[in-house]
Amino acid sequence: MLHYLLGRIVQCLVTLWVIATATFFLSKLIPGGPYDTDKLPSAEIRAQIDAYYWLDRPIAVQYWHSMARVARLDLGPSYRFLDQPVQRLIVRHFPPSAILGLLALVISLGLGVPLGIYAALRQNRPGDWLTLGLAILGVSVPNFVLGTVLLYVFVHRLGWFEVGVIAGPQWPSLILPALTLAGFSLAFVTRMTRASMIEVLRRDYVRTAIAKGLPRRRVVWLHSFRNAMLPILTYLGPLAAALLTGSFVVEHIFHIPGLGEFFVQSLDDDPPVVLGVALFYSSLLIIFNLAVDLLYGVVDPRIATGARAQK
């Protein structure tokens, strides 16, 4: 177990290094530098700025410097906000994104799993058809369409919500963004739960349990539910990724000053922020995936976690 964990951690670090390297060189290729090309400052000032960002050194030195700094969890100064280290900018922009993401996660799982089970227990009856129809619609409508339509209907037409206020007493303003963010995953989780539950309900041990005369509730929740949840667990990784990338869209539509919107704004002219946010997002995902894998080993005793590493 310990051996496996160590191996996984090494692999995660390698992944992070690959990402850091790729983003470093990609961000060097992005046109634009730390000063406006329209009104170039004087040569001396430019030299000073270049020295501040290490831009006057050879690229190999820059790379080494950047990686060494990242290893110390320092992401260096931003281009747009001269005196601000990137990590501080990330810490400032992350909370709204995190709140939204968690809310969406809760909606996806808290609503998707019960809906999926409901549909599975009423297989091929109207309730099932309705749920499935909504679910395939949810998978098909892109998040930016869903968000814009929700914005139009509930903010512009009905005026039920306000936009652009986060936290504080106006927490209802989080509902629409969270729903938008959760839409796809909610539908996906519903479909997955339904399929998985139907499969489990067909198993021999479930039939045995029913034949034995156990109460239906007990069969569903104790015998079927736990096993049906295993595939959902594997989806948690991609789910987190979907919520991260969804934030780019949702924060743009609902004017939320989060990390996703900040990243998109920084893409053209702030390579340090791009590198930093990419690394931050990747680390989040990697840690999340690792946690899910370990959890999988705990929940399903048939899987020896060590043996999975051999695969």
Binding site: C12, L26, I30, V139, P142, V249
Partner: protein, 299 residues
């Protein structure tokens, strides 16, 4: 999704051919029986036909505006209204639809090509090379791929070709795994041994003997890629990284309507409906294909 409601396995049409039905495209027959998949096919055909025929039939151009006709509400002349430059919204939506289809097909094709070569080599060569190549894929899987696509777009700049390249370069990982699995199974078969003993080179064996035999599965997996690529293009254009003016993408059209939501809400209708229907059609077709070919196959 498939609902095989009690129809007989041997459909009547097979009776006269004298061939056992199972030997001829069983997957295709399974697909045909799937009503959702068929509906998806019809919808997809209708959308594609509308997109392709539009420039010859519809009197308005997607790029040429008419400044005396700004922000018209939908009427009998401009069915979906006009935008801030007086451009016909329906022409723009149909152009975006054409672009979406193109991006989906081309990006999926690039994924198939890269994935096939990578997976084919990895599976056939085997041993340490295979280990190393698969380890690399594992590492790449840890990366949020959309981030990399966005970075590539920031580097390349906007443009249709750049969208193809960025999506094509990044999303082949799953395809490589599928092809590798197929090749691993196929390479032990007798005909490959025969080719090898005749002195065929590894390159020839991979490209002439192995990859063509993975084609069925690869095409199915590639079809499932198309809606993903379409979504990514629309997403990129929505956040302002994908396709720029004067071209229209379904994503950039939705983004454009966002600014005028209060006063010109009709601009939202066309692009939203178009991309949602397109994704819906592809999802139905994809589900049908997946059920028909291999219920276990995922991503």
């Amino acid at each position: 999704m498939s609902k095989n409601t009690g129809e007989a396995v041997g459909a009547p049409s097979d009776r006269n051919t004298g061939e056992p039905p199972a030997l001829r495209f069983p997957a295709w027959r399974k697909f045909r029986r799937n009503r959702g998949a068929l509906a998806g096919m019809v919808l997809l055909g209708a959308l594609a036909a509308a997109a392709l025929v539009a420039p010859f039939v519809w009197p308005f151009d997607y790029a040429r505006g008419n400044l005396s006709a700004q922000f018209h509400a939908p009427d009998l002349i401009h069915w979906l209204g006009t935008d801030e430059f007086g451009r016909d919204q329906l022409a723009r939506v149909l152009y975006g639809l054409r672009l979406s289809l193109l991006v989906g097909l081309v990006a999926a094709a690039i994924n198939v090509i890269i994935g096939s070569i990578y997976g084919g080599v990895s599976g056939y060569v085997g041993g340490k090379t295979d280990d190393a190549m698969m380890r690399l894929i594992e590492v790449l899987y840890g990366i949020p791929l959309l981030l990399i696509v966005m970075l590539l777009m920031a580097v390349f700049g906007r443009g249709v070709q750049n969208v193809f390249i960025a999506i094509g370069l990044v999303y082949w990982l799953g395809m490589a795994r599928i092809v590798r699995g197929q090749v691993l199974a196929l390479k032990e078969s007798d005909y490959v041994g025969a080719a090898r003993s005749l002195g065929a080179s590894p390159v020839r064996i991979i490209f002439r003997h192995l990859l063509p035999n993975t084609l069925g599965i690869v095409i199915v997996a590639g079809t499932l890629r198309i809606p993903e690529a379409i979504f990514i293009e629309a997403f990129l254009s929505f956040v302002g990284l994908g396709i720029g003016e004067p071209r229209a993408s379904l994503g950039s059209l939705v983004a454009g309507s966002l600014g005028n939501l209060e006063s010109q809400p009709w601009l939202l209708l066309g692009p939203s409906a178009a991309i949602s229907l397109l994704m819906l059609a592809f999802n139905f077709v994809g589900d049908g294909l997946r059920d028909a070919f291999d219920p276990q196959m995922q991503r």
